[in-house]
Symmetry: C2
Subunit: 316 residues, 2 copies
């Protein structure tokens, strides 16, 4: 394929002029501009993006680190990121880590390699200590709140949202409240959850805390355990509407009616929750994604809190 020099030669101008035409600079005479465009058309020329990126030193590409690519939460986040990116003429690459530390570092290296202008981390495998150094090479925006000044944050006040969810259950008279999470870790999110739980209910009963839940089937399995406990919970706070849906379906199958016999609160306002009438804490992940993308594009390391809302339906 032709390159800019070929065009220049055939049009009888310098490469500088061709470059100017390509970039719509003013200060190119009409006749030369026309001539160059004609040749470009004739040769079916298109500039090489790698060369452009090389000289410009930027790629207008944003990486999105996610743990798994088949997770409804991250779909919402991606959705938000894409909304903003397309609008601002950026491109998004999706980087699923499976919580593999080396993989995550490999992806972060794309900043250092100048393949990406910025990176959004939705969930991380490495400690911040291992991640921070990469912020020298491009803005990193996190979905976890972190106080480190180099890192931008588009985050949710989870402690507060969990507090609200538990309080809602307490107000309805529930004292035996179980909850589920996805990862079996000491993530901040889980810590907030436990702290909020203790804040509202005082004591924390280990059997009421189930982990490793992320889909409907996990919800069914969780319910199977929780609802046959000698001291069975009367309410469950699930980490997603699909899990909540699974819980509700299993409950129904053993003749426990919602909310009469079992109150359920889900999270993220997913489609299944609408269908099953599940009350949910909507953390507005699409907005979180949009905000994160905006921070990257404006090269801002601000900490932006995105408001959540509780959507009351019929499961509480």
């Amino acid at each position: 394929m032709a390159n800019i020099h070929d065009i220049a030669k055939l049009a009888g101008v310098s490469v500088t002029t061709v470059s100017r035409v390509l970039n719509n600079h003013k200060y190119v005479s009409d006749d030369k501009r026309t001539k160059v465009l004609t040749i470009i058309n004739e040769l079916n020329y298109a500039p090489n993006q790698s060369a452009i990126d090389l000289t410009r030193g930027e790629t207008r590409m944003i990486g999105l680190i996610i743990p798994y690519n088949n997770n409804a939460c991250f779909d919402q986040l991606l959705n938000g990121v894409l909304n903003k990116a397309v609008e601002m003429d950026y491109t998004v690459i999706v980087l699923p880590t499976q919580y593999n530390k080396e993989k995550e570092i490999e992806y972060l290296s794309k900043l250092k390699n100048k393949q990406l202008d910025g990176m959004i981390i939705t969930s991380r495998a490495n400690d911040w200590d291992a991640i921070i150094p990469y912020s020298d090479y491009g803005l990193i925006v996190s979905y976890d709140y972190t106080s480190h000044p180099a890192i931008g944050c588009s985050y949710i006040d989870r402690y507060s949202s969990y507090l609200d969810a538990f309080q809602l259950l307490k107000d309805k008279g529930h004292t035996h409240v179980a909850f589920t999470t996805a990862r079996e870790t000491e993530s901040m999110s889980t810590q907030h959850l436990i702290t909020a739980y203790k804040e509202v209910f005082g004591t924390f009963i280990p059997e009421y805390y189930l982990t490793g839940c992320s889909c409907l089937d996990d919800g069914v399995a969780a319910a199977k355990k929780l609802l046959h406990l000698p001291n069975r919970p009367t309410a469950i706070f699930a980490n997603g509407d699909e899990v909540a849906g699974g819980i509700q379906l299993y409950a129904k199958s053993i003749n426990l009616e919602t909310p009469r016999d079992l109150a359920i609160i889900g999270q993220e306002n997913q489609p299944i929750g609408v269908g099953l009438g599940i009350t949910t804490v909507d953390h507005q992940l699409t907005k979180v994604g949009e905000q994160a993308c905006e921070l990257i594009i404006h090269k801002s390391n601000q900490k932006v809190k995105v408001p959540y809302q509780i959507i009351q339906r019929t499961s509480v």
Copy 2:
């Protein structure tokens, strides 16, 4: 930041040798290799990916053209594409068009600009005539079947799957069968649907065909129309389990029991369908995505048919 020349100078070798070290070529003596690696470490050097892409003439990046980024079907497709891409060390960029023709051409131009090695088109706004020329610059794989030899296909035999779905309803004694679609177009998919319908039921009643459905709420709205028709359908074939779920929920609200009063078949085996017990035609979109990605990576323009399956639950 340092470049390969700086490394070469400080290590006392040529850039060729540094390049060899970076690419793990053999034929570099141990002492030079060690020396080079030491300097690379000291200077915290990382090669510039744009420069590499420029010389290599490839980027190991694959584009995925989708209409909207908030659609469950495309999430499944993306999931599959990512599975394969990560495995083969490729990167995926997501390109939502909103069915805008210019946008789509802009994305296809990324092949010509050598920004992408290949492109997967899940749904297109332009005619093939406008798309084909871009296959000169990188393999295009389509999710629609097309006979054009340049285009690879990872497709579903929709005509056959629709036939099966309608036949299932007919076998259960249904003669008044409605159906929904997403886009109001003459897409191949819709044509197959209508042809299959006529094949099974003979006559085609326009009021039984509703378009513009893609989420649960659309399903509710569709049901609201269909179920109050003077000659109301006894079965509905929806274009997705969320739409099907919406239909079922509305039906229930007006005291129509499934499957007694209304049979429903959904598509794509989405989470909500599990919850509501909706019989579904699973087109295995994740596999379709994986297969599409594989074709791109192997630069194969084969036409691969991915098998579908009907998952019977309780809505028929």
